[in-house]
Symmetry: C2
Subunit: 131 residues, 2 copies
């Protein structure tokens, strides 16, 4: 097999950078508050990117993994569904119910990765794939 790209100095410098044993992804309960927050950040990222007239909201989290890596990295298997909240309204998604109208109802299956750095009070959603 051919290797794509020789290890660069950047790659090499990441290897022995850790004071502790590197974390491996572990199953976490889908109703854990941190998982719920990560799901909410994921769908907020979706809404920021979408051209839809309505906001989407997380509707089901079927699986979740968490990995300790300079913070917490969540890997989520989640569904997001179209709500009745218009995009122009800056609603809290907490107040948005799902569409019941047959032509407007839509659910997408997504995979997301959410990286939370608690001591910086920050998060990123580096991966989001929906179908």
């Amino acid at each position: 097999l051919g290797a794509t790209g020789d290890p660069s100095q950047d790659f090499c410098s990441q290897i022995l950078n850790s004071g502790v044993k590197p974390g491996f992804p572990k199953t976490i309960k889908t109703n854990d508050p941190d998982v719920l927050r990560a799901a909410r950040h994921s769908v907020e990222s979706f809404n920021n990117c979408s051209n839809d007239a309505f906001l989407f909201r997380e509707s089901h989290i079927s699986r979740a993994l968490v990995q300790i890596v300079k913070g917490l990295k969540f890997m989520l298997d989640l569904d997001i569904s179209r709500t009745t909240c218009k995009k122009t309204r800056h609603s809290s998604l907490d107040d948005c119910g799902f569409q019941t109208n047959r032509t407007l109802k839509q659910t997408l299956s997504c995979y997301s990765e959410v990286w939370v750095i608690p001591w910086l009070q920050s998060f990123k959603v580096p991966v989001l794939r929906c179908h």
Copy 2:
């Protein structure tokens, strides 16, 4: 929580890119030949980066996950250990036994991600962290 970085166009274009439901990481047997190959690629990356006089070789794979994402992405929890093969020798690691000398023996715990694209016959090791 503050979000680090607004979703760029690159980020947004990845979201609805998939003709199938995005894959979620799944447990795979640590003795699966693909896992063994991925572990080998991981330690080869380590050796390419290390200043050690000897080659390291995968010594134990304790956990493995695989995710379907435009190919296969392996997530490995593996130990690598110092062998008796000098780095200057272009040995196949298959022929390299582990150090038994007390001062030279060393084992590192690593986490790696290996992305295999079978139809291109290529692979990458985008993540490797050892301790």
